[in-house]
């Protein structure tokens, strides 16, 4: 990196995007460092814990980021924009026959690797595995808000921008998802299991 190059680590995501639009590879490196693992985890949860698929989606996502950099409005928050791109990619994937066939294939193991009992007892492992299965079986829209809220820890306002609906709808989906989890997991006592 040259002496007169900007200090990329101190740049905001939005100004890095402006530099990427001018094909600045160092700016891309910095943005990639900030978001790659985070977006990979998002895809992994959204796409039935298929790591290979998540890596493919990550590549496609960053290709879009680079190609659409000049269309990005620097007045908008970059995090919201990239999650919107990622959420749309997942929606398209759900629609495609290819992913549907993966769902069918993956259904028996859709919940991913089970939590080992020695991490804190049989009850805890059962509870966590039950939770994992419930999340995997939720509808896309409920799983989406649950992952954005609990994994990505995004505020409701931002989630509403990402999924393209009102804050009220997001809250309602979130509570519905929680109630569903609560209802299904009554067999386990959450008080003792987390």
């Amino acid at each position: 990196m040259g002496f007169f190059q900007p200090k990329y680590q101190q740049c905001s995501d939005e100004s890095l995007m402006e530099m990427i639009a001018r094909r600045d590879e160092w700016a891309f490196d910095e943005l990639y460092r900030r978001y790659a693992n985070r977006m990979l985890r998002y895809f992994y949860r959204m796409l039935w814990q298929d790591e290979e698929k998540a890596q493919d989606f990550l590549q496609d996502l960053f290709l879009k980021v680079v190609e659409k950099a000049s269309d990005f409005d620097p007045g908008r928050r970059f995090a919201t924009w990239i999650y919107t791109l990622a959420a749309n990619m997942c929606k398209n994937a759900y629609r495609s026959q290819q992913v549907r066939s993966i769902m069918v294939r993956a259904e028996p193991g859709m919940e991913g690797p089970t939590v080992a009992a020695d991490e804190g007892g049989v009850d805890k492992a059962l509870f966590q595995n039950g939770l994992k299965q419930e999340i995997a079986q939720m509808s896309e829209s409920h799983r989406e808000v649950l992952i954005l809220r609990f994994q990505e820890e995004l505020p409701i306002k931002e989630i509403s921008e990402i999924v393209g609906c009102s804050e009220g709808t997001v809250k309602s989906r979130l509570f519905y998802a929680l109630k569903k989890l609560n209802g299904r997991l009554k067999a386990f006592d959450p008080k003792n299991n987390y």
Partner: protein, 154 residues
């Protein structure tokens, strides 16, 4: 009242009388309590089971290579745009006038010094013999097209 924040942070026993009244208008105390517990459990579950994944390092390299391709395409597109640009009529007219002037002046746009007869030139226009400036003017040398025309006309 921000129910999301309250359910997230407070168990039933920690609710203020106001919050408890508002809560009871919405749901039963049992529902509130179990919702609070599910919220906490879900949050802990997500934190505890966050997948430890690393992005494939090849992805970064491939995208950097793609950026270089895009940069080359940008440069190619700029050149193509420049070449495809239509030359305005005034440029063509200016070019034609410049060509005519070059033919007309015989390539010599500088008036010679006065009194140098050895140049086989006629001082038709310049009779002062004192003008030592190098002003640009009509070439009236006998070899120029205009002087030939004038001689023939005379």
């Amino acid at each position: 009242m921000d129910w999301e924040k309250i359910i997230q942070e407070k168990p039933l026993s920690a609710l203020s009388p106001e919050e408890r009244l508002a809560m009871e208008a919405e749901m039963s105390p049992e529902d509130y309590d179990s919702l609070h517990e599910t919220w906490q459990a879900t949050q802990k579950y997500f934190r505890a089971t966050a997948p430890k994944l690393e992005a494939n390092p090849q992805i970064r390299q491939q995208i950097r290579a793609h950026m270089r391709e895009l940069e080359n395409e940008d440069l190619g597109a700029k050149v193509r745009r420049l070449l495809a640009r239509r030359v305005p009529a005034y440029q063509a007219v200016a070019a034609a006038l410049a060509l005519m002037a070059m033919v007309h002046f015989g390539g010599n746009l500088i008036k010679p010094q006065g009194g140098s007869f050895d140049q086989q030139s006629g001082f038709i226009a310049d009779t002062t013999h004192q003008d030592t400036s190098h002003r640009v003017g009509y070439n009236l040398y006998e070899d120029s097209a205009l002087s030939k025309f004038m001689i023939e006309a005379l």
